[in-house]
Symmetry: C2
């Protein structure tokens, strides 16, 4: 009988995962009867005890991953969370989650709370990555993956959408359909992702040799109502426009409903392209042209990267860009240019 046999060794001898050995000990969760018997006989052989497991779990592995998110409302982030859960559960981990409502103080405190609960790694989603975040992450002895923000320059691993690039591509698509009078409905001005999308819009515009009109670039939030309000304001300006880029599908639907209420037609009078497509797009009276990318995949990739880093025990910096598609449907059309 060896005294220092570990759960890893038990798992290895039984040819099963650590999670399975743990399940047998705790008499919890599904384990095949034959597997259970095999593990129990190895335990008897080696003298390994549940107390050892408990100690080991206390000292080393908690099989817990921490997740810090700023918000749950909206369609995107909940799907990313589902993606994270899907991967980590497959790997025998569990997720402890905390919500910060975007408050910096709360974000920093949650890093400490999760650390004190001995999570083995943390996935951190935020609207804006700050130096305070960087400082706390650098001090942590466990891997951290940032979700939603590109932290390449901060030397921290991240998984994110290509906000500027797809906004640029979507705007180019409208320019390619001869549209020259374009409006942009952004999200909150504090949102880094929103401002990157605006940058992409403006870059495509300027590359076409034009200067965007400040009055045609509006900020609101991510809601249907906000799209309606912004469109009302835009129409009140009485400035001509033939196309609109919106921060997401909800804002596009609000804008479309406002246009319909003013007796205008989509796409005959205005072409619209949304920079995010979720199930909300199903509410649109016109099939929405939109950029689509998967929040589920965002969560999956973040979780895979974190689990890999926990397993390898090093904090190699890695960046993952989530793919996107520009999908043109019924809400956009080519503008007939009069000679």
């Amino acid at each position: 009988m060896t005294k220092d046999i570990s759960i890893t060794e038990v798992a290895k001898r039984a040819g099963v995962s650590i999670a399975t050995v743990s399940r047998v000990f705790h008499n919890r969760g599904p384990v095949k009867e034959s597997t259970r018997r095999k593990i129990e006989s190895i335990i008897e052989e080696t003298g390994y005890t549940p107390n050892q497991l408990a100690r080991e779990l206390a000292n080393k592995k908690t099989q817990l991953i921490g997740l810090i998110v700023h918000d749950f409302t909206g369609e995107g982030l909940p799907r990313a969370i589902n993606g994270v859960n899907q991967i980590v559960e497959d790997q025998g981990y569990h997720v402890l989650m905390t919500s910060t409502r975007g408050n910096l103080d709360s974000e920093l405190r949650n890093f400490e709370i999760l650390r004190s609960k001995r999570v083995e790694g943390i996935i951190f989603a935020t609207r804006s990555f700050k130096k305070e975040h960087q400082e706390i992450i650098e001090k942590l002895p466990i891997p951290v993956v940032v979700m939603l923000q590109d932290t390449t320059e901060n030397g921290i691993s991240s998984v994110f959408f290509q906000n500027k690039q797809f906004a640029y591509d979507a705007t180019k698509a409208l320019l390619g359909m001869n549209h020259r009078q374009l409006a942009f409905f952004g999200g909150p001005s504090a949102s880094v992702n929103s401002s990157h999308r605006k940058d992409g819009f403006i870059q495509a515009f300027m590359e076409a040799g034009m200067t965007p009109d400040d009055k045609m670039v509006k900020h609101g939030d991510f809601s249907i109502e906000s799209g309606y309000i912004q469109m009302n304001k835009l129409l009140a300006l009485k400035k001509p426009f033939t196309a609109l880029v919106t921060i997401n599908d909800a804002v596009a639907i609000g804008a479309i409903n406002c246009l319909l209420d003013h007796g205008m037609r989509i796409p005959e009078d205005v072409s619209i392209i949304a920079l995010d497509k979720t199930v909300v797009a199903d509410a649109s009276r016109v099939q929405l042209s939109a950029v689509s990318y998967s929040y589920q995949d965002l969560g999956i990739q973040a979780a895979k990267l974190l689990v890999k880093q926990i397993g390898s025990g090093n904090k190699t910096i890695e960046q993952i860009k989530i793919d996107y598609d520009v999908h043109l449907q019924d809400s956009t059309q080519r503008l007939n240019v009069k000679e």
Copy 2:
């Protein structure tokens, strides 16, 4: 110098909350300079040390509340979570959250994980409350509040919506407007809340001396797309109907869009009332008549009840029903009965 002074005593002498004392110790979070000085002088006086705080936190109070939810998608639950966070943070607590995707095994395991992280109480949201839940909750030495399901009969505290009652009221409202040919679009048949709403619909119907036609009662999920699909199937039946009750606003919008695509008018041809109203209702081309109740309030009430139970140290059973309103707008109208 007393040795056994507690953080509670320090807080009391300083006339501040425990959270504030903790913040001063950890040098973290906003504390007024004058408050900080006062606390520091009391600490000096009494000989109370951060190590004592650490020990105290480790041995007694973790200031953590556990939250187990089945799903994050949709508009409702994320708002309830925000409500929970709002209350518990005000009380100096933090929330550790786990997601179960409605899987019973995962739900049960999450109770144990949260307990091993020494949360002081748990809020549990589920689509269906089972005897396995009851067994594990009864064994726990900490208070548990169930959210979304009425667990009066299980002897467990709960905070919930009055699903059957408001579905009954909404159906009565349509009957009161002379509608007699009614359809019902429910959620998944496994959803207890959906089946309670169906019960309310059927009860109102039968009290009016009619038997509901099984073919007019449909099941789907909670999405816009599902409303569209169910309406397509209903129209294919070629059975006359003048009014529709839907499980929520998303399903109502899908149904409305399908009717509009078939050249029908709302409310002239069909009156529609939704049994849930969220921001998604803003997408509707017709102002939706709907039952509204607050998910934020659901979370707030659950958190208040749990914090109260943690504070009082007993597990008194209490039930809280969330209020609702039946709000008639443009999607319903009185049917002119031909004599």
